[in-house]
Amino acid sequence: MKISAAAATDEAVDLSDALLRCARGDQQALRLILETEGGRLLGVAHRMLQRRELAEEAVQDCMVQIWRKAHQFRAADGSARGWIFAILRNRCLNILRSGQRLESVPPEDLTAMQDARLHASAAGLDGMSDRIALKDCLTRLEPAAQRAILLAYVGGFSQGEIAAIQAVPLGTCKSWIRRGLELLRGCLS
């Protein structure tokens, strides 16, 4: 049986409820989110940033943002976990796109970081249960489209970087991604 992401999430701890309590000013609820999701949040951030101190910074900022924005969460729209991880990813992308933030990373480390992000992106589907429909649907895409989507989502690469990695013009890359996403939605619906 294929299950959707939304159905697979928010199971053990009621994250929606925790967000509601955060919005009411209950710090214990935020701590609960850190306790239950923190390990994975740190893992996602580390996969994208490849440096422990940057990943920790991203998770800390993410938790503060969750605290401040909890009142904006609408459970009717989607899962609490999806909302929480989107905040983390956003923070990671900000760190990656801010040249100043990476200023203190030595050039040789930056190269290693890019390599590790590439590797992590390629392995993005590893470990995903066959029961998750997204796995089947991503696997059905053209390899170039699948790779581009994983580079963006898992590695946090920009469109320009993805085009460079795949050695194609930006326009080609954009249309691969767009077409891939459309097929993905069709497959998942």
Partner: protein, 239 residues
């Protein structure tokens, strides 16, 4: 080029739009329910990819650095000459949140320290070109750098710092993106020191200063390699 709502949401969730567009669409989440719903669907579609990341230990220990940053941030007035940022920006560039929230308790404390520096007036005879309050990751003021330009700068610590065995603090500034970070000197301890910077362009408003933990004897590469202990942006002094 028109794009349907769901495709736009997917691309937004992948983070592929240019930064101003990304920021604009992020702000729109608060007041466009149809857009917010499309984005929430897109997030849930791709969320299983986040679940393939390996869980890492140690997240809960971050709480002590998170908790001090919570709570309603009371707007606090700061002198116009003072500008400081916490080591980790609380509000990302694409967050249209209330700018007053930048003025956290740490900021207010930093402002107080600077006011003390300026009112005290007896520390140094010359007037620094810029002052930077360096904050740690939690936004607590750690040190104050006064850069007089002309290869003369001083640092003073305003809170206790822990330097692990075998490491040494090194002070850096970023005169420009082209030059990259430049060492202002190594610190023997946390007692404050006259730094020994090379001759650099006159420091400017907003210039970055930071302290990193380097191997004893200083960074082996001549660039920062260790964890950032504290950092802050310079505020121009005088007229």
């Amino acid at each position: 080029m028109s794009m349907d709502l769901d495709t736009r949401a997917d691309i937004f969730v992948l983070g592929l739009l240019d930064e101003p567009t990304q920021a604009e669409l992020d702000a729109a989440l608060a007041d466009d329910p149809a857009w917010a719903a499309a984005v929430a669907r897109a997030r849930d579609r791709l969320l299983p990819l986040d679940m393939t990341a390996v869980e890492l230990p140690g997240a809960v220990s971050l709480w002590d650095r998170i908790a001090p940053r919570l709570g309603p941030a009371e707007p606090a007035a700061a002198p116009a000459a003072v500008r400081a940022v916490p080591a980790a920006p609380v509000v990302p560039a694409n967050d249209a949140g209330p700018p007053r929230r930048w003025f956290t308790a740490g900021m207010a404390a930093a402002a107080g320290i600077l006011a003390g520096v300026m009112l005290g007036g007896s520390w140094f005879s010359a007037e620094p070109v810029v002052i930077a309050v360096l904050m740690d990751a939690s936004g607590n003021p750690t040190a104050v750098v006064e850069d007089f330009g002309a290869a003369d700068a001083r640092i003073r610590f305003v809170s206790a710092v822990e330097v692990p065995e075998g490491r040494q603090m090194q002070v850096w500034t970023l005169p420009s993106a082209e030059m990259g970070p430049v060492s202002l000197g190594l610190l023997a301890g946390a007692g404050g020191a006259d730094l020994d910077p090379p001759r650099l362009p006159v420091p400017t408003d907003g210039q970055l200063y930071e302290i990193t933990l380097e191997p004893a004897g200083g960074s082996p590469t001549g660039r920062p390699t260790g964890a950032i202990l504290a950092k802050g942006l310079a505020a121009q002094q005088g007229a």
